[in-house]
Amino acid sequence: MNIPMSWLKEYVPLDCDIKTYIDAMTLSGTKVESYEELGAEIKKVVVGKIVSIQPHPDADKLVITNIDIGTEILQIVTGANNISEGDIVPVALHGSTLPGGIKIKKGKLRGIESNGMLCSVEELGFEPKDIPDAPEDGIYIFQEELPLGSDVKPFFGLDDIVVEYEITSNRPDCYSILGVAREAAATFKKSFQYPKIEVKENEEKIEDFAQIRIDNTGLCPRYAARVVKNVKINPSPKWMQKYLLASGIRPINNIVDITNYVMLEMGQPLHAFDLNKLAGDQIIVRNAREKETFVTLDEIERTLDASMLVIADGEKPVAIAGIMGGENSKVTEDTQTLLLESANFDGTNIRLTSKKLGLRTDASGKFEKGLDPNLVIEALNRAAQLIEQLGAGEIVGGILDSYPNPRKSLTISYDPESINRLLGTEISHEEMVDILKRIQCQVDPEKKIVIPPTFRSDLLIEADLAEEIARFYGYDRIPTTLAIGTPTVGKETHKQKIEEMTRNVMEAQGFYESLSYSFESPKVFDWLLLPQDHPLRQGIRIANPLGEDFSVMRTTPLHGMLQCLSTNYNRRNEAVRLYELAKIYLAKSLPLQELPDERVQLAFGMYGEEDFYDAKGVVETFFERFHLTKQVEYISEHNLPWMHPGRCAAIHLDGEEVGYVGEIHPKVLKQYSIDSRVYIGVVDLPKVIQKATMERSYTPLPKFPAMVRDLALLVKEEIPVREIEKMIEQRGGKLLESYELFDVYQGEQVKIGHKSVAYSLLFRDKERTLTEEEINKIMKKILHGLETELEVRLRE
């Protein structure tokens, strides 16, 4: 919402500087986004009168003029051909500046001295169409006597400041100059000067000219009209043009300009029909018919549907309600009689229609905020008054007004104490009453009730009044306190702690945290080689996504991780380790019947000088952090389509699968343009969170020495070492404290098809020192088991 300060000041006598003004308005709730000093770039452009015009001796297209600027006569050479002696024109003097950083200096044009420049409206920053009486091409010629030598800026409204406001959606009344002026008056404790509206009507009766009818009062709570006879289309007066132009609306003619003027001033859009073009002299407000077509004022044919509201005459639509009028009923030079519409439409319907048609206008922009139906007659009368005053037509007596369910004012009771309690203030009841009256509420301090004006549809309960009181009292004056209240303990939940520890353990292992989008393309499922019936394909789809690439909520963090790795790989970043705590979204059924399962998964990915065991080590370290190492098993996993079938382990925690770790299938990597081995691990955190505990218990440190024995074994290569370890654990008994695999070797000196595996076993008894014989016995037992059940031989 852009408002010229000069226009605003017609309704509220402000005398502060602009900085003070915008700060105060922002603090009272009418936020100023920016302001622009019009014509700030224009300096030293004055009114001059052409005294004489002579041809240039050396140039056919140039003339030499003498210009009277009041204090002196200047010789100026110009190429303009629309000027005559006696014309009054804008003159840019020597040393003047124009929009776009142009500087005018005196000099010689083809040998003749020129002391400035005669200006067109373009040179003053306008388009020719902005100024109705400006020539298409050429110097602007003032149509009235102006003091010679005076600044031209006031004439064009270029001495104004235009302020841009951010109006919040609860204040449709402030989408008008009067609305903002009302706020300004309340802010600065000035009187609010509402325009005096009086209409001079003729003796005739409007009922003899037209009828109106609303078929859908839900979408059109009120429709009113006046009739104007003997219409004379002319340009509007300069003052009106200046206001419109500064507000961003181009002046057209008196009737159009008056409707726009009233819309800006009061916030109520109006529309003028040529009454002679309305079949049956009738207005019917009805829903459009399905597929009904209609040519709007911009000469575009629109196809309507039954949800849209139109203004029709006896036969056809003549306007799309609240959005745009029709070509078939528009006011032209020849129009004799007008029907002037002032109506109230349902904001939501206007907004939806406007969106469906892709047609947003100044009028629809106002209506969609939801206007006060009680504004309708005021605005209609204001327009009629201006039409009559400006000699644009004769107002026929009476108003057609259909308003079946008038909006009634509300009564709100309040309690000053409770308002102070909410705000934490000690504002006196008198001050509260004063503030409420300043915003035009009726207040009964005895009964403690407030009747807000009907245009303040946002004032419904005491808390709403509290806000009004607070913002005019000043948010900055509310004492800043710290709540005492009932103490609460701020701490993270178990889940949050585990997640935090997960981040820490990953970062400690050299992983950088990444963030990826929660939704992705359904093509991802193909890239990951998922068969058609794979459960991960059961992603939740967004009905109105930004595009196919953002249409499915992820069911696995894989794609996000691979994409991040791909970005890095293709930017030639060597050796990358990334992790993400990624939420996945698993539907319990599709379409959704209940909230889906949102699970946080730890995903990590890496490439560089690494192999499977580096990746597995990351997982082991992760579980060690939560003291879960002994509860985790790694089981060879050949069936994940996106993983290398021989280099992937499923991770089992207490027998339950919680994730996997391994190498990505080269076919998948190709989709991501990665030409390097990539290792990935995924762990479902909710399952880990369930098992992880922060409880620790202490075991006394050993008092007796341990005995260590090494075991070098020759094993068939297909036997996983885990099998050997199970045997060691099983047969090692209570005295086996720990063991460690310290070497696995294949190659020279090892029988083909075999591997050499070496363990170090540590035995200890809590109560005493062990004897050689005891250990020998256990070692024999272990070896025997290995030999008989796994065909393992002791290495010589």
Binding site: I461, E507, C564, N568, R571
Partner: protein
């Protein structure tokens, strides 16, 4: 005999003073004190000494031995130290060669900011609440007093799934879920992902993060809201940070406000970051709307509260001077390493 002993002592001491290394010292020890050493040889000759002289010579011999042994120890210690010094000298290395290190990963810049904010509120007695990202219309809109015809509900702004399910457009629904489950006193913050139908560009992302805050208790005032957020701002932006509250509108708070913080780049003088205003808009806030309390069954006559919400990306971008939001979701390691 006596002369012999004195001679040995003199010779040995002379040898000690000349000896250069431990090996030579040991040779000297063997030569004089060893089993076949000269001193031992002499002592073997004791049997030829007369019985009167024997104690005297014996004592002398012991004295010589003691003297030599003491001397030997001293020289040995000196030489050992010398040898060690020499060894250390040989072991000099170039300490400016970079060390072998385990690489350390970094947290995402947005999470760093989030962690800071969490810490501040945890310290003020707030808990961290979480809620679903795929949300029901009721929690995202209706229970927050957002009318059914509100423009925010349009398809242009909100991602819809099906039926009443949508991607939450704000973290505010967590307020409602918390209040439904818990009676006051409530002090929570709720960080998380939110979704809006904005095309990706330098300042927009369809996925972004918000932090919601909610306090409900007896006698909570707007002054308390100002106080809590002023403390927060000073903790996050520095003790010189000033805050300013401007009236605003949110359907679920009344009175509502927006909070600006004095620009942490220029300190309020006006610069590129604050677009010359000296202030940066940080969050929206207000007193919880009585309707919102009523809908979750909390009596607004007995309890009051305040709520606030802020965008995390904005704060992170401004904090680190990052000019393009897309960098946050690209995860280029060269970017991530900077935090």
């Amino acid at each position: 005999m006596r002369e012999r002993l004195q001679q040995i002592q003199q010779k040995a001491i002379a040898a000690f003073t000349e000896v250069q290394d431990l090996k030579a010292l040991d040779e000297i020890r063997v030569k004089y004190l060893g089993k076949k050493g000269e001193l031992t040889q002499v002592l073997r000759g004791m049997k030829d000494v007369s019985s009167e002289e024997r104690p005297v010579i014996g004592q002398l011999a012991n004295e010589v031995r003691n003297t030599l042994e003491t001397q030997l120890e001293e020289v040995k210690q000196i030489l050992t130290e010398k040898a060690q010094e020499a060894k250390l000298k040989q072991e000099v290395i170039d300490v400016t060669i970079p060390g072998r290190k385990k690489s350390l990963g970094h947290r995402h810049p947005m999470h760093i900011v989030l962690d800071e904010i969490k810490d501040i509120f945890l310290g003020m007695g707030y808990e961290i609440a979480e809620g679903p990202e795929i949300e029901e219309d009721y929690y995202n809109f209706e229970a927050l007093n957002i009318p059914a015809n509100h423009p925010a509900k349009d398809e242009q702004d909100t991602f819809y799934i099906s039926g009443d399910f949508l991607l939450r457009t704000q973290t505010s629904p967590v307020q409602v879920r918390v209040m439904e489950k818990k009676q006051p006193p409530i002090r929570i913050i709720a960080p998380g992902r939110v979704y809006r139908s904005d095309e990706v560009d330098a300042t927009h992302s369809p996925v972004f993060h918000q932090i919601e805050g909610l306090v409900v208790d007896k006698n909570v005032t707007m002054g308390d809201l100002k106080g809590a957020l002023a403390v927060f701002a000073k903790e996050l932006f520095g003790q010189n940070a000033e805050v300013k509250f401007r009236p605003h509108h949110f359907p679920f708070t009344e009175p509502s406000a927006e909070m600006d913080v004095s620009c942490f780049m220029c300190g309020g003088k006006g610069c590129r970051v604050c677009k010359g205003s000296g202030w940066i808009e940080i969050l929206g806030c207000g007193m919880v709307h009585p309707r919102v309390l009523e809908m979750v069954g909390i009596d607004p006559k007995e309890y009051s509260g305040f709520a606030f919400g802020m965008g995390l990306e904005r704060i992170a971008l401004q904090r680190y001077g990052i000019e393009d939001l897309r960098l946050l979701y690209e995860n280029d390691i060269r970017f991530l390493k900077q935090f």
